[in-house]
């Protein structure tokens, strides 16, 4: 290809690129995901209402304005068991600053009779919700246990950690982020 033709082609490519940058600009910021609920970073946390083992109803909306960690787990899941003491330890440190931890037992795939001994064994003091019909698991498109959703005071998911056990540093880093 002749140099003049080649340079013309490059110029056309660059010009087309500039046109595309302006044509595809999002002037109204309409793509901001925070307005619709989805279990993904940057989206509104989907609402759920579940019961605890003593029959108390707890909804995520009850905690709007607070930093919330939703940890989905099951008693038979080894990484869930491994990270539970760390979550409890960090919860003890941050609860006075307004941190809410909701432990959602994926009861649909768990043995309900094993939950109370589990809570006692790990001295868990944060609320444990029972996802008996898998409603919350479906809403949060649960694909692996444990899965943790770090939700900011504005109700937007700031981070999703799939799998575990989470290290203490990762837990603290994400909590510091949602407490801002």
């Amino acid at each position: 290809m002749q140099p003049i033709l080649r340079r013309s082609l490059y110029a056309v490519i660059l010009l087309a690129g500039l046109v595309w940058i302006f044509a595809s600009a999002d002037k109204t910021n309409s793509e901001t995901a925070g307005r619709i609920p989805a279990p993904q970073k940057g989206f509104l946390a989907p609402e759920f209402k579940l019961k605890t083992s003593d029959g108390q109803s707890i909804a995520l909306t009850d905690y709007r304005g607070k930093a919330v960690l939703v940890n989905v787990w099951a008693t038979w899941c080894p990484p869930c068991r491994a990270e539970m003491p760390t979550i409890e330890k960090v919860y003890q440190e941050y609860q006075n600053q307004g941190l809410v931890v909701l432990g959602v037992d994926s009861t649909i795939q768990d043995d309900p009779t094993a939950i109370a001994p589990f809570v006692k064994q790990y001295n868990i003091t944060f609320p444990i919700l029972l996802d008996i019909n898998g409603e919350a698991s479906d809403l949060y498109e649960l694909r692996s246990l444990p899965t943790s959703f770090f939700i900011g005071r504005d109700g937007v998911i700031k981070e999703v950690v799939v799998g575990g056990p989470m290290s203490e540093a990762l837990l603290r880093t994400n909590i510091e982020e949602i407490m801002k």
């Binding site: 490059y10 600009a25 002037k27 540093a169 990762l170 510091e176």
Partner: protein
């Protein structure tokens, strides 16, 4: 259950890392096969890659710890944690690039032929990353009604991860069909140009862009600038080639 759902369940994070490791393995094999045509010593290249990998892992973790110093001071053992989320990817890449450059100079590896030899690895890694985006649902598209839209994160969206996979496969194919007579640096610059051009186009369909200056997408501006540099480089090289002939 759709094929997409089966794929996403199979490679749910952190298992999506398997896709990147698989791509790295294939890419390394391709790079090793093509190293002789660029007159690059295979052992030197392997050593360079090993050192880069170690500095990527160590650099990414140390930088992450430095960014969160107060937290790591409370649990210093976390610096050795197997938790892959405790990692600064971009920081790790910068550390790896600096280390590779310094080590390459020390063992007298020529820069452009080495980059050419490594280009199939870079191109294959891009495919692996695109597949990992598809598995995790990251780098998702904006809402649309096009017939090929996919349901993701509560809306019908452009399948930008699939666009990314197609673009990166085409880029690799174009790299692999290059004749062996091309000048040093050509394959690498071609890869950079094609990758930045595809990012420039695909970013326009993304639903998670960082917006600046009244709605412009930051990644598109960066991609355009990189494309500009790559095209200047390609033109300069063609000119040198022409003068020699």
């Amino acid at each position: 259950m759709s094929i997409l759902s089966v794929f996403q369940n199979l490679f749910v994070p952190p298992r999506d890392l398997i896709l990147i490791i698989l791509a790295a393995w294939i890419g390394l094999t391709l790079s090793e096969r093509r190293a002789p045509r660029h007159h690059v010593n295979l052992d030197s290249l392997s050593n360079l890659l090993l050192i880069s990998l170690v500095s990527f892992v160590a650099g990414g973790r140390v930088l992450y710890a430095l960014e969160n110093l107060a937290i790591f001071a409370q649990s210093p053992a976390s610096i050795f944690s197997l938790d892959t989320a405790l990692f600064d990817q971009w920081g790790g890449l910068v550390v790896a690039a600096i280390t590779a450059f310094a080590y390459g100079r020390r063992i007298h590896l020529l820069l452009w032929p080495s980059l050419d030899a490594l280009t199939p690895l870079f191109a294959t890694l891009a495919i692996g990353i695109a597949f990992s985006h598809l598995a995790s649902g990251a780098a998702f598209g904006k809402e649309t009604n096009v017939p090929w839209a996919i349901d993701q994160w509560g809306a019908s969206r452009h399948p930008t991860q699939i666009y990314e996979i197609i673009a990166s496969i085409l880029t690799l194919a174009l790299i692999l069909i290059q004749k062996p007579t091309v000048k040093p640096g050509y394959e690498f610059l071609l890869f950079v140009a094609l990758t930045s051009a595809s990012r420039l186009v695909i970013e326009g369909f993304r639903g998670d862009s960082t917006l600046i200056l009244g709605g412009l997408r930051a990644a598109q501006i960066a991609a355009w600038l990189i494309l500009l540099i790559a095209l200047i480089g390609l033109d300069y090289q063609k000119r040198l080639n022409h003068e020699k002939e």
